[in-house]
Structure formats: structure tokens, C-alpha cells
């Protein structure tokens, strides 16, 4: 109950942001964080939970952005319909990318996603008649009430909220456990009857849908896109947010996204260093706390708990209980 109240309070505070923000730029930044989070929340199931190191999700972001720009702009579709189409296109491309690459070992998969993002960049440049080539495309915004900076922020906030809820539902249930099993011990996962490839593909397609949606929102926020908008660096940025935040957590990567998006805006020298800063951060995290910064809190909590009581390690079977549990059927 207390958790629900806290959640509601946060939701209200976030929804009211356009009214308490002191300038338009803050609203823009908050919207950008939301857009990134829509993608990262989905990618988190792939990277943080199932352990598939995709460094090329920027390709899916670009596809969503171009689909939205072309459908809503060139073809005059209603923007919200084009937004849905972007999500579908992202999911479809995720399927096409995942089918051949998710069976490959880790480094091969990472390289396949890198190659995918480079191919998307190459094609968006080459197919000038559709994408505007190097010149790029102007992107229409959303209709009222989403046609102001505050309105777009609400739209993004709503979608980000829904995506967060969906990923939280997945992560906190059997699916989340299965994905972690795939990440940490494929042998144990298959022994438990988990279909590793299908599970990986499912979350990958889901991450494609959220990346496609994020692409459309991103395009509308930027209002003009070129192939340069979707440099490989952004794909790396998404990935780093998750690794730094901590694998197997939702809050960690969320904080990672907020801090890493906002930090360069607040601390100007960091913006100049750009990727160097993200790379250095990633290196430090990998070498010092490979489970991510979010894990530090957990370790501290465990330490305190251990100090409080001496932990027992004595195994003492309760046979009648075991017999009763074995006699139970599937899901009571």
C-alpha cells in the first residue's frame, strides 16, 4: 500500500513536470530521457536479463524514426497511426535480426548487432529517394494535445510508463527468472525445460517494438533527422546505461539513463569528452563492480543484515513436508 502511494506520488510529480520546470529546455531534456528510457527499458530485458549484448539497437531506433517520418510526413498518415507502425516495424526488424544472430555465441552476436546498425546507417544514406539521404527529413509532430513541448512530454511519459509496467511485469515473474537463467547458466536453463532461443527471440522482438516506438518519438522530438542523428555512439550509450545501472534490475538502468543523459548537460566538460567518459565509466564498472552500481546498494544491505544475525548453514530436511509437496499437482 505504501509502495502504491509512493508510486502515485512520483507519477503525479512527473506528470506535473511541465508546470514546475523553470525553462523549456528542462522539459526537452525530460522528454529525451523518457524517449531513451522507452528503448532502454525494452533493451534491458535483452541485455540486463537474458544477457545478450546488443550494441546496435540504434539501428532499430533509426528504423522507427524513419518509418514515422516517412509515413507521417511523406505519406500523410495520422501521426499516432504512424507511431504504431514504427513500433511494428521495429519489432519486425528485431525478428529479422534476431532469427539468424541469436543462435550465435556472445561476441558474434554483439558484432552482428554492430553490423546491423552500420547497415541501417548505410541504407538510410543510400536510399535517398525515401530517406532524403544525407540531407535528411523534416519530421511532423503529433496532433493536439501532444503538439506542445509539454504535450509531447506527456505522450512520452505515458508510453514510458506503460513500457516500464510491461517490463516490470515480465521481470518480476517466471519470465524474468527464466531470462536470468539463460544469462547465467544456459545449461541449467535447458535442464529446466526453458526454450532458450525462443525466449531470447521473444524479448528481442519486444525490444525491437520499444526501440521502434522510441525512434518515432525521438524523431518527433528532434523534428529533423539525418543519418548522422543515429551514430553508432548512441547505441553504445544505451548499452552503457544498462551495464552501469546493473544487470537484472530495472531501477538501476533507469537511474543510469537519467544520470547519463542529464550529466553531460549539467557538467559541460563531460559533453566534450562524450564517449570517452562513457567508455571510462564502463571500464571502471566492469573492473571494479561488474554487477553494476545498483548492486552496491544490495551488497551494503546484505552486509548489514549479516551483521545483525549469525547465519545458519545447517540443512535439516522436513520429510513429511517434502512428501506433501511432491504429492501436489501442477498449479493448485
Amino acid at each position: 500500500m505504501r509502495r502504491l502511494a509512493a508510486g502515485l506520488a512520483i507519477a503525479v510529480a512527473l506528470a506535473a513536470l511541465p508546470s514546475w520546470a523553470t525553462n523549456q529546455y528542462q522539459v526537452h531534456l525530460a522528454t529525451l530521457i523518457g524517449v531513451y528510457w522507452v528503448l532502454i527499458a525494452g533493451l534491458n530485458l535483452v541485455v540486463g536479463y537474458s544477457g545478450q549484448l546488443s550494441i546496435g539497437h540504434v539501428g532499430l531506433l533509426a528504423i522507427g524514426a524513419y518509418v514515422y517520418a516517412v509515413l507521417a510526413g511523406t505519406w500523410d498518415w495520422p501521426p499516432l497511426l504512424a507511431l504504431a507502425a514504427s513500433g511494428a516495424a521495429g519489432g519486425l526488424c528485431g525478428l529479422l535480426l534476431g532469427l539468424p544472430s541469436l543462435r550465435l555465441p556472445g561476441f558474434y552476436f554483439a558484432m552482428a548487432t554492430l553490423a546491423f546498425s552500420l547497415i541501417v546507417a548505410e541504407l538510410s544514406l543510400a536510399m535517398g529517394s525515401v530517406t532524403g539521404g544525407g540531407t535528411g527529413l523534416a519530421v511532423p509532430g503529433f496532433p493536439a494535445p501532444f503538439d506542445t513541448p509539454g504535450g509531447l512530454y506527456w505522450l512520452v511519459l505515458g508510453i514510458a510508463g506503460i513500457v516500464t509496467l510491461l517490463t516490470w511485469n515480465v521481470a518480476s515473474r517466471m519470465w524474468g527468472l527464466a531470462l536470468i537463467a539463460i544469462r547465467d547458466s544456459p545449461v541449467a536453463a535447458s535442464a529446466a525445460g526453458i526454450s532458450i532461443f525462443r525466449a531470447k527471440l521473444t524479448v528481442f522482438v519486444f525490444s525491437g517494438v520499444t526501440a521502434g516506438l522510441a525512434g518515432a518519438l525521438f524523431a518527433a522530438l528532434q523534428s529533423y533527422i539525418t543519418p548522422d542523428t543515429f551514430a553508432f555512439d548512441i547505441g553504445l550509450f544505451f548499452f552503457v546505461c544498462i551495464i552501469i545501472g546493473g544487470r537484472g534490475s530495472i531501477l538501476g538502468p533507469f537511474l543510469g539513463t537519467v544520470v547519463l543523459t542529464a550529466l553531460p548537460e549539467v557538467v559541460a566538460p563531460l559533453a566534450k569528452l562524450g564517449n570517452f567518459f562513457y567508455g571510462a565509466l564502463l571500464l571502471v564498472v566492469v573492473l571494479v563492480i561488474p554487477e553494476g552500481i545498483g548492486h552496491l546498494v544490495e551488497i551494503a544491505a546484505a552486509r548489514i543484515a549479516r551483521r545483525r544475525r549469525h547465519e545458519s548453514h545447517v540443512v535439516q530436511p522436513d520429510l513429511p513436508r517434502l512428501a506433501a509437496a511432491l504429492a501436489r499437482g501442477p498449479a493448485a
Partner: protein, 286 residues
């Protein structure tokens, strides 16, 4: 047509050199380092810096580029590989080498600039030689020397045999008193030197460009994946095939779909022979 073939071979030679470095590092550490292409990039950038900015003659500049490459190889081993191998998580080396590669690329971008810069002539030659231009033959020459040299090194020298022993069974090698840490360090140093040399030799072809590293990391990887991880012949065949394919694709369809076609080749080979053309089938252990 001749110029298409020669430029394809030359680009392929750069991929072969990158692929050989992948193999060399992999043999002693079982790590595929994301920094592989960045070693060559550093060779090119520093070669250009030594010659055009500092005004060094060719030979000292070449030695300087090799030294920088060697240093970077050693740093890669110390920072991104050694500490991570002590832990068992197989994903960590991917993250640590990716981090180091990103830092290197961005640092070079900030210092050297993000535009490709010209690499000077290594041997006096004017620009009217077409297919005989040194920018094609230098990387091809280095590729031949590197491939032969590595083969001799593996077969004839004590260090080469230590590499092979470590590659086949690191536990057994350690049991026989071989310091696998030193062997690994040595292989990364040699890899760095080779990358520095290759990057220098290919400078006129690739230009001194900060983003070259990632391209080479990817295409060198495609070469080993096509040819088969751990095989020198595979690296040669995979790299040259990829170079020729790109050259002909550019000749026929223009340069716009180069990466798409390269990845198409990779997918095709992986579908038919997942272990690569000359690779050994891995044995799965439970």
C-alpha cells in the same frame, strides 16, 4: 578491371592483418578483443602524426608507429584482459575491451580530429601508377610478410611453441610450468607491433582516420568468422575474399552498399558452415 582486383586485394590485406591479430590474441587468451581494429588505426594515425606533424623521416616514424601499437597491445592486455580473465564471466572481456576501444577512439577523435587526414608517401613515387601504386602494394606486402612470419614464428621459435601449447590447453601448459600470463602478454605485444606496422603500411589506403578502428574490428571479425577462428589460412582466405567482394561490389553497384554486402557474405557462410571455412568444430562440454 586490374585496378579493381588490386584495390580489392589491398583492402583485403588490411582485413587479413586484422584477422591475424584476432587469431594471435585469441590463441593465448581466448578473448576476441574489440580493440583489434583500433591497434591498426593507431598505427596509421601516429604514423601520419610522426611524419606530417613532427616531420620525422619514414623509418623512425615506422618504428614509432610499431612502438605505439606494441604499447597499446600491452595496455589492452593489462587493463582489459588480465584482470577480467581472473573472473569466470565470459561476457566481461567483451565489455572491458569495448570500453577500452571506445575510449581510444574518442581520445584520438578529440586529439587528432574526426576528419580523415592524408598519409604521406612512404616511398618516393608519383601518383600516376594506377594499380602499381604503393598504397596497394604496401599492405599486401606486409600481409605476406606477416602471414609467413607468424607461421615461421609458431613452428620454429620457442615462444611460438609456447603460444601453441597455451592455445591448446592452458591448464596443461600451466601445469608444466609455463607462465601463461607472460605468454599472453607477449602475444598481445606482438599483436600490437603487427597492428602498428599494418596500420602504417595501409595508411595511404585508409587515411589516418579515428573511426577506422571500429570498421576494421568488424571487417576483420567477418574475415575470421568466414575463414574460421584460429586458422591463418582462414584469415587469409576470409580477408581477401571480403576485400575482393567489396571492391567488385563497389565497381558494379557503387560504394553505397559495402557493409551490407560484407555482412551478407558473413551470414551466408555462417548459415552453411557455422565454424567458418577452415575452422575446427568446437566440442561442447557439460
Amino acid at each position: 578491371m586490374l585496378s579493381v582486383i588490386v584495390s580489392g586485394l589491398a583492402v583485403g590485406a588490411v582485413y587479413v592483418i586484422t584477422a591475424l591479430i584476432y587469431n594471435l590474441m585469441y590463441s593465448t587468451s581466448k578473448v576476441l578483443s574489440v580493440t583489434t581494429g583500433h591497434i591498426c588505426m593507431l598505427g596509421g594515425v601516429f604514423g601520419a602524426w610522426f611524419t606530417t606533424v613532427l616531420g620525422w623521416p619514414v623509418l623512425p616514424a615506422l618504428l614509432g608507429a610499431v612502438a605505439i601499437g606494441t604499447l597499446f597491445g600491452v595496455v589492452t592486455e593489462l587493463v582489459a584482459v588480465r584482470r577480467v580473465l581472473a573472473r569466470s564471466d565470459e561476457h566481461l572481456w567483451l565489455l572491458s575491451t569495448l570500453a577500452l576501444a571506445t575510449m581510444t577512439q574518442q581520445a584520438v577523435g578529440l586529439w587528432w580530429g574526426t576528419e580523415p587526414r592524408r598519409f604521406p608517401r612512404v616511398i618516393p613515387q608519383d601518383f600516376s601508377h594506377g594499380a602499381a601504386d604503393q598504397k596497394f602494394w604496401l599492405p599486401i606486402g606486409v600481409m605476406v610478410v606477416a602471414a609467413l612470419g607468424l607461421e615461421l614464428f609458431y613452428r620454429r621459435t620457442m615462444w611460438g611453441k609456447l603460444f601453441q601449447a597455451t592455445s591448446e590447453d592452458a591448464f596443461a601448459a600451466r601445469a608444466r610450468g609455463i607462465s601463461t600470463d607472460r605468454v599472453r602478454m607477449m602475444s598481445y605485444a606482438i599483436s600490437g607491433a603487427l597492428g602498428g606496422l599494418g596500420g602504417f603500411a595501409a595508411g595511404q589506403l585508409t587515411f589516418a582516420y579515428f573511426a577506422l578502428g571500429l570498421t576494421l574490428t568488424l571487417n576483420g571479425f567477418i574475415a575470421i568468422a568466414v575463414g574460421g577462428l584460429g586458422s591463418s589460412v582462414g584469415a587469409l582466405v576470409g580477408g581477401l575474399a571480403l576485400g575482393l567482394l567489396s571492391a567488385f561490389a563497389t565497381y558494379l553497384f557503387g560504394g553505397e552498399f559495402q557493409q551490407t554486402i560484407a555482412v551478407g557474405l558473413l551470414m551466408l557462410v555462417l548459415l552453411i558452415r557455422p565454424e567458418g571455412l577452415f575452422g575446427a568444430r568446437g566440442v561442447r562440454a557439460v
